[in-house]
């Protein structure tokens, strides 16, 4: 195993979420990908501080390291006043609160009656709970993705997040990172026309988060089926992630929905006339 592979393995295996104890007047530090997080406990308050590391990709994963309280102008600090004496704090990974738009590196065509699996890396949110009642202190993006618009024009559509990474056909092309999770999207083209994919809308706010036996975060597998008679794709959610033998549920979906629903998953901002989305086989 070369040095680079070794580093990648260390990052992917590390678990930063779970239950921790922060003693009174103590500060613990985490580094999750590019995000550095400090949690401090005072007699009457919890203090959460965070900053984005300058060179994010080269930084290792740091979990609950005892340190001193951070000080600096560029550090964001949130204070939570409490009466409870409990020192328990819980870190939970979560999926984004809006759908995610992910592009392919180059446009991909799925021929009629064919299927393919795309792998997508999803940015994670971090939830912090504290005290006996596990009151939620924060629910924010580890690295906030850019806003984006998904709809036929600038008047109609949905506000989504734009993924920084592309959807890939090979899982090896997507590096595992502690601040991101993975999902597999099976695309089945049941129409007589070939399906043109430039971007995908993944309903991540409706997905659950699982941890695999290797400590990787995955969502349940997703299937998008394109039929002839509709512009919308039929979405089916599996009960478990794909490609993992054993997995445990970590976080419930933000919005629970039925396991099958319709979604304009293959639309794009560029307005297309009806029938233009799927191209006729030459």
């Amino acid at each position: 195993m070369n040095q680079q592979e070794e580093k990648k393995d260390v990052i992917s295996m590390g678990r930063w979420w779970g239950d921790y104890e922060v003693g009174t007047n103590q500060t613990l530090r985490w580094q999750i990908g590019p995000k550095i997080l400090w949690i401090s406990r005072d007699h009457k308050e919890w203090k959460v501080a965070s900053v984005e590391a300058q060179e994010p990709l080269d930084n290792p994963l740091i979990v609950a390291e005892t340190t001193k309280e951070p000080d600096g102008d560029d550090i964001d600090v949130w204070r939570f006043a409490v009466q409870s004496k409990s020192n328990a704090v819980r870190l939970v990974p979560a999926l984004p609160d809006r759908p995610l738009i992910v592009k392919t590196t180059k446009p991909v065509f799925v021929p009629s009656m064919e299927e393919t699996i795309l792998f997508v890396s999803i940015p994670l949110w971090l939830r912090i709970y504290a005290g006996e009642g596990s009151a939620e202190l924060m629910d924010s993006a580890i690295v906030r993705p850019s806003d984006t618009w998904f709809g036929p024009n600038t008047m109609k559509g949905d506000l989504c997040y734009a993924s920084q990474t592309s959807a890939r056909l090979h899982i090896e092309d997507l590096p595992l990172r502690p601040h991101r999770s993975m999902t597999s999207v099976r695309i089945r083209n049941n129409s007589i026309l070939k399906l043109h994919i430039e971007g995908l809308k993944i309903p991540v706010n409706n997905l659950s988060l699982f941890v695999s036996e290797k400590g990787h975060l995955w969502t349940e597998a997703l299937t998008l089926e394109q039929e002839d008679h509709t512009d919308k794709a039929n979405v089916r959610l599996d009960k478990k992630p794909a490609l993992t033998m054993e997995s445990t549920l970590v976080t419930q979906p933000r919005t629970k929905i039925s396991r099958g629903f319709l979604l304009d998953a293959f639309g794009s901002l560029v307005a297309k006339k009806k029938g233009e989305k799927n191209e006729r086989v030459p």
């Binding site: 738009i101 906030r144 993705p145 850019s146 806003d147 984006t148 618009w149 998904f150 600038t154 008047m155 559509g157 506000l159 734009a162 794009s268 901002l269």
Partner: protein, 283 residues
């Protein structure tokens, strides 16, 4: 005591029909108005789930005025006033009132059109005659706006129909146009890439629709450019400020000059170089 009251004729007065009618009329008026207020409020509450805020408000007011009229008619009837005579007089009066209340009538009709057309709703940010404010109520006669310096602005409905009204919050996303001037010596391709990087670094700038880079022309002192980014409606003000700051910082970091207006002095038919002398310790 009773004898004394009888002498005064007060008991008779109390027993008289007129006083009874007045008491009944007062009761009808009081209870009727309370009921009208409660019923109109109840109707608005029920309709609030189905209708928009200003429609519910209009229904509430109309139902209140209708019930109010019925209560007044009932009260007058109780007092024994002939309504036929009154309505006849009202018919004559209405012609006079009609002429006198042309403006009000026009505003009421304009108000109905505004509600039917629904170009804005309560809470929208409008620009009317160069003034910007949030809609706080849409009434029969006027639309009330709260300007950002917290002043109430009343715009008659007729004017709202006649003038151009811009609704800044109708669509969920908005475009921010930043006018940038760069020195002629700069490589525009590099400037373009830097501007796109600035937008990419700001998560509130949308990835789609993509930012726009437009050549506006050759200005007196600078290459005039327009850089436009799309943002969520609620982030408009925040990004309008931050993007300008980010562009300036990034231009400074990359040594891209934003020129100020240049003027060349011409002093006559043959312009000689201006003599410049550097003096030690000079001010």
């Amino acid at each position: 005591m009773n004898e004394f009251l009888d002498k005064l004729g007060f008991s008779q007065f109390l027993k008289s029909e007129i006083i009874l009618d007045i008491i009944w009329a007062a009761l009808t008026l009081t209870i009727g108005l309370i009921l009208a207020w409660l019923i109109s409020r109840g109707i608005a509450r029920i309709l609030r789930r189905r209708l928009k805020a200003q429609e519910a408000m209009l229904v509430k007011r109309l139902s209140y005025y209708l019930l109010f009229s019925l209560v007044i008619i009932a009260t007058l009837h109780q007092l024994g006033i002939d309504l036929g005579l009154l309505l006849g007089a009202a018919g004559i009066l209405s012609v006079a009132i009609g002429f006198a209340s042309q403006t009000s009538a026009s505003n009421v009709i304009s108000g109905i059109f505004l509600i039917a057309e629904r170009p804005f709703v309560i809470g929208d940010i409008l620009e009317v005659d160069g003034k910007v404010g949030e809609v706080i109520s849409i009434d029969l006669l006027s639309v009330k706006l709260r300007t950002f310096d917290n002043v109430m602005m009343r715009v008659p409905n007729e004017q709202m129909i006649k003038t151009t009204v811009m609704n800044r919050t109708r669509f969920p996303i908005r475009r921010i146009d930043v006018q940038v001037g760069v020195a002629y010596k700069e490589n525009t391709e590099r400037v373009r890439n830097i501007l796109f990087d600035v937008a990419e670094q700001n998560p509130l700038c949308m990835a789609e629709p993509k930012p726009l880079f437009i050549y506006k022309g050759y200005g007196d002192s600078a290459l005039e450019l327009q850089f436009s980014v799309w943002v969520k409606r609620e982030n408009f003000l925040l990004v309008r400020n931050s993007i300008q700051e980010e562009i300036k910082t990034t231009f400074d970091k990359n040594e891209i000059e934003i020129p100020f207006p240049h003027r060349t002095l011409y002093t006559g038919s043959v312009t000689e170089p201006f003599p410049v002398r550097v003096v030690d310790g000079g001010v």
